[in-house]
Amino acid sequence: MSNPTATPVASLAAISKTYGEGEMAVTALSDADLSIYPGEILLIEGPSGSGKTTLISILGLLLKPTTGAVFVDGRDVTALHERELPAIRARHFGFVFQGFNLFPALTALENVALAIKMKHPRAKDAELQSRRLLAAVGLETRMHHLPANLSGGQKQRVAIARALGGDPTIILGDEPTAALDTKTALGVMELLRGLATEQGRAVVVVTHDPRLERFADRVARVEDGRVVAVETMRHAA
């Protein structure tokens, strides 16, 4: 659960992002502040085009803000060179997407192991880690299956296991339940809830689905490029 007295694992301070220049300039995000705490699930909600994707991209160090500062683990990483960012992303972030983005030719185990080897080329125990992670998401009997032979929910669990490779402190999800039926979507959210509560990871999920709010500690609402509200959910208070 979120703890406002805890140190944020990541935060955005007065972030703005403008695409293009002059008359063609489009402001996707302006003056956004947001802090992410360990052990919480933060939902980012808002209509299409409101700036949610820009917000999560800047938070995940995939996009540079035009103004403002990004802190990860207390360190200002805004001005770091592009070359330095992959190492920080590898250490702190895991990503989960709506489309799973698994290599169809690789088994669940291989997909997770490949990500670990890519993030940490010197990792000697990538396969062992992958087995442990897949077991943790309830796929111990599906490790050697190709994505084509897994259900949508199972694929998303593989993607979550892959995101957990390298033991990141923050999991960022871009509509991770949008392609799943209700029951499966809720199962995936329960899994993410467990990662936050039991392992202390921060989970940030961009979603349109209000049913997911019951799993969240806080909900940030984004409209017209602004974080208009950050609500603490009653069940989390």
């Binding site: 995939l62 996009l63 992303r89 590898a90 990503f95 290599f103 490779g165």
Partner: protein, 373 residues
């Protein structure tokens, strides 16, 4: 990582089969075309390369080994009196007209050598007695030319330029570039077969005195009037160069080989690029999660190398099969270790170059794009 790259590559077996076919056709074309070229070039300098001479003396201005101009007996004495010359042998190479048993005609290249010649004599004997070619009207022929000459054994009797010719020795592998079979005989008989006067020849083969370098001696002999002189390696290179450049045979073979490489590049490049496009979201996800460009590029290059290895093995097999078929058609395809090694390296380089577009695509891939649906 190799295993994972292999799995990604082999997932679509039909596409991989097309890539492997592209590489193997490329490899086969390179090996066979350059092998044929090397075979022709070997034939172009066959006699020179098998001689023990240090220096070859020819008529001034002779450009082509097979069509050298005549030099006369006085040249031999001039050469012999040149400091640094230990010994000389006369040699004649000229065309004669061979008549088959059925009356058909076939041009032959008559090689006349002195009795007891040690600097050039028939080699790779497989039958008969080579010493007997020093008897008048006796010849040695190569078994690979049996079909052209219409004979199949020692003792066969035919005519060359109207004079008697009896086969007394057989060799294997002494073939000419001109496709006219070589016929070894003694110098006098060779003159009769080629209508050369008794004091004429085409080459003087020179053995240098101990301690005298062939280069120095060749330079010294080149100063003699109306004569040119070349060391054996230079003579060999000139013979090859003449046929390679003057006939366009070199350009022809290398153009076909280059086309093979281009075919391989295009096919492999397209297959790898399509594969990369299909996996762009997956690669983007890995980049988002902190994978460095180098790690992803390595996976693509591993796929290129796997395509190269499979294509090389298949293409090599096709080239060996082609060589067997061409040998039956009396064509020499020389698959030397150097050629095979160079082709292996070329294949890997070709596939890696073909992967370049994919590599550029991945390097330019914005990891943020995975958030954009």
């Amino acid at each position: 990582m190799w295993n994972l790259a292999r799995k990604i590559l082999l997932h679509d077996r039909i596409k991989f089969a097309v890539a492997a076919a592209g590489v193997s056709i490329s490899v086969m074309l390179v090996l066979v075309q350059i092998g044929l070229y090397l075979g022709f070039m070997q034939n172009a300098s066959n006699l020179i390369d098998h001689s023990k001479a240090d220096v070859w003396v020819v008529a001034e201005g002779s450009e082509n080994f097979d069509f050298s101009g005549p030099i006369d007996e006085r040249a031999v004495y001039k050469v012999l009196s040149t400091p640094g010359v230990a010994r000389v042998e006369r040699m004649l190479l000229a065309f004669g007209q061979y008549r088959n048993a059925d009356g058909g005609q076939q041009g032959v290249q008559v090689v006349g050598i002195e009795p007891g010649a040690t600097m050039l004599a028939p080699w790779s004997l497989v039958g008969g007695d080579a010493a007997r070619i020093h008897e008048p009207g006796k010849i040695s022929v190569d078994v690979t030319e049996f079909a052209k000459l219409g004979i199949d054994q020692v003792g066969a009797r035919r005519e060359i330029s109207g004079a008697r010719a009896e086969v007394v020795a057989l060799t294997r592998g002494i073939r000419s570039f001109t496709t006219s079979p070589f016929v070894f005989t003694n110098l006098d008989t060779a003159r009769a077969y080629t209508n050369f006067p008794a004091d004429k020849m085409t080459f003087v083969l020179v053995e240098a005195e101990p301690g005298v370098s062939p280069e120095t001696l060749a330079e010294r002999l080149s100063k003699l009037p109306n004569l040119d002189a070349y060391t054996t390696p230079t003579m060999s290179a000139r013979a090859r160069h003449y046929w390679s450049s003057r006939t366009g045979v070199g350009a022809g073979f290398f153009t076909t080989a280059a086309l093979g490489v281009i075919v391989g590049l295009v096919v492999v490049g397209q297959i790898l690029y399509n594969g990369t496009l299909e996996h762009l979201k997956e690669y983007g996800t890995l980049k988002a999660m902190g994978a460095r460009n180098g790690a992803i590029v390595r996976v693509i290059l591993y796929q290129a190398v796997i395509s190269a290895v499979v294509g090389f093995v298949l293409g090599g097999g096709l080239a060996v099969a082609s060589r067997a078929a061409m040998t039956k058609a009396n064509l020499t395809v020389l698959l030397t270790p150097d050629l095979v090694g160079a082709t292996a390296v070329l294949t890997v380089v070709m596939c890696c170059v073909a992967a370049l577009l994919s590599v550029i695509k991945v390097l330019r891939l914005d990891p943020a794009s995975v958030f954009k649906g």
